[in-house]
Symmetry: none
Subunit: 419 residues, 2 copies
């Protein structure tokens, strides 16, 4: 297996640190628009090499694939670049993996009730070509989407005879402090992506609505607030609906009545996002602003990203745990697959930042995102996972994945709630 | 009386519209860095003339005074230009009025507990020269500072035998809507200046602390939050301490135990300012941001200003009322000046935006600021007010001022609260 990793940011660098300890691949070429950054990430292992790439160019991605005889392209840049990397991999005859799918476009007339272009639509539109070519695009194989989708497959195969709701729930009790020890506002993940996913109309899927837009519909931002109790000492966090890939992926392979994604943003962060939106600072279209060299056109969202600490740099100043998981409700089943009674189970994966920093030198949120594609690539290299077309993680057997995750020293957990 | 008005922005233009209806002056020369804008404001009346001026140059201001035989300079530009205009007026032998005083500089070691250079310090430092020359600088004669200081004088002379607190309280229920009628976030005054005054350390005065820094001290931003009930249907608004001139002016002429200024920013606006501050978007020092033409250096606060609607343009889309006033507590007195019981009185001035737009074509916040210096100039022209040195509005008899304000069609009000 010869891997091209596109993107040497927080997640890309953690991916390198994790993969460096495994032996399933021959080489990893780390490519970034900033070649020096790629070079630093590639220092993790002698099998790695750094390279420069323009991720917005499918031709540049394909050329790099051909130059290094790449078999698998791992996309670790922000979702604006999904399509050129996806198409560049296909053009070069490589398989493809990503952790976020092609972007949505809101419905022009009814953005907060109907879907427009959905997450991943552009990729699924090319599924036939990937199938015909016998190539695999494994989409959404980070932690969320990714591990959450593996949990959905596991719940359907091993825990539930009938599923009411597949509800992804993501929460943390992370705190970042400045040099004086004061708590500061410093998101642990790309603010550009966070704004994108939190301010887009959240998407929900219901089987009963399958006749309209395939069952997918949208709501206003921050809808259906709910306090969810997270495990391992994290405790209760306010969660709200957010647009996320799982809602687009799970219904394609797992039978359920309803699929949702709720993000435990917490009241403070929701307040910040609401403010950025009310002021128009979440905008990506350019505004005219004075600069020392005269008026310039800049995107307000890029300014927000520029004033905040780099998420890749906050690890040493952060404490707490992050939890990704799937809350499943419905009817349980016994060992023979026969229905038992009502069941409510939360399948989860918690990473403590102190552990991630000490063990890998990467903060827990990017580490948790990065470990899953390494596990998936190892399963593909071994032949434990195989497939063709544009597939989500729930299209594969969950058991070898969850076993291998244990083997990486980062076990998952399960909590049954009273019903 | 021959007036030089420096500044033809929102307040300057409203000043012209109000003065045009009065006959106490011979001419008003309207000067602005943008001569066309000055010309437009001067169209209000044949006694007006437009001119160009560089307000940062005391020499330019003095030259314009001499050219037009100016007797009174009215400063209506932002407080960065107080000192050159103040000094230019003095050099040309003219009297001077402003609506904001020379800027403060925070204490280098203890910014949130001790004062550094205070608002107006640079002007008061020259009080002796103004007195010796027999000339008057009447500082802080807008609405706040201005009318609020007149209220302090009135309360001390006519309502209270002893004052515990002179508490300026400013609030509004103004709402701005977009073309579809949806409420939008659109401050009715410069966001750049609002950030400046709200994030500077608020100043408070207490008589008991007179031995240290003259009784003035600072607190962290947004301190002592309090819900104040505003009159005439505005209702309750959350108010917090803000740095403002009244706290520097009132203790010099009016006896009280404590002087405060609280701005009714409301929870939403305080939240916005806190968020901008927490994220560093209030910063004026440049950050590096990508643009279509490559990386550029811009000031985040300029971006915030660029994404919000221009305050000068929101008048027609605004509804509601703005209230400026002074809450006085202490011991009342009867007609003979003898102490009565405990008393709590709010003296106030409310302007309805619909009325200001219909009657004057200017939005209520700038109109309310502009009417007070016109009244003061008329009192000086008549000889009802006179004085020499650097003085605040509380150094003059309040009664003729309040009577004349009534005569301008904009009466003040008074509410006694139960104690």
């Amino acid at each position: 297996m010869r891997i091209l990793l596109v993107g040497a940011g927080g997640v890309g660098s953690a991916f390198c640190a994790i993969a460096a300890r495994r032996d399933f691949f021959e080489t990893i070429v780390v490519a970034d628009h900033d070649e020096a950054r790629a070079g630093r990430a590639a220092e993790a292992d002698p099998r790695f090499a750094g390279a420069q790439v323009d991720a917005s160019s499918a031709d540049a991605v394909a050329a790099l694939c051909r130059e290094h005889a790449i078999t698998h392209v791992m996309n670790a840049v922000d979702p604006r670049f999904v399509m050129p990397i996806f198409e560049g991999a296909f053009a070069a005859g490589a398989d493809y993996l990503d952790m976020a799918m092609s972007l949505s476009q809101r419905h022009p007339e009814a953005p907060y009730s109907k879907v427009g272009v959905k997450l991943g639509d552009e990729q699924f539109a090319q599924a036939g070509e990937w199938e015909a070519a016998g190539r695999l695009a494994l989409c959404g194989i980070g932690v969320e989407p990714g591990l959450s989708d593996v949990f959905a497959r596991y719940a359907a195969d091993h825990l539930f005879s009938q599923i009411d709701e597949l509800g992804v729930r993501d929460g943390a009790n992370l705190v970042v402090r400045d040099d004086e020890g004061n708590e500061i506002f410093a998101p642990s993940f790309s603010i550009w992506t966070t704004i994108e996913e939190c301010l887009n109309p959240p998407v929900v899927w219901e089987k009963s609505r399958r006749d309209v837009d395939g069952g997918w519909f949208t709501t206003p931002p921050f809808s259906e607030p709910e306090v969810f109790e997270f495990p391992e000492g994290i405790g209760p966090v306010e969660c709200v609906n957010v647009e996320h890939e799982e809602v687009l992926l799970m219904p394609r392979w797992v039978d359920a009545q309803r699929v949702t994604f709720k993000y435990g943003l917490g009241e403070e962060f929701i307040g910040v996002l609401r403010t950025l939106n009310a002021l128009g600072l979440d905008r990506t279209d350019p505004v005219r602003v004075p600069s020392t060299g005269g008026p310039v056109e800049i995107s307000p969202r890029d300014v927000v990203a520029a004033v905040l600490p780099d998420p890749a740099s906050v690890g040493p100043r952060m404490t707490g745990k992050t939890c990704a998981g799937l809350w499943v409700t419905g009817t349980g089943k016994d060992g023979q697959g026969n229905p038992t009674g009502p069941r409510s189970t939360y399948l989860f994966h918690v990473v403590d930042n102190d552990w991630a920093m000490k063990e890998y030198g990467h903060q827990c949120v990017v580490w948790q995102t990065a470990v899953n594609p390494v596990v998936a690539l190892e399963l593909l290299a071994r032949g434990d996972w195989s497939g063709v077309g544009v597939l989500g993680p729930e299209a594969f057997d969950a058991v070898p994945f969850l076993d291998l995750l244990d083997d990486y020293g980062s076990p998952w957990g399960m909590r049954d709630d009273e019903v």
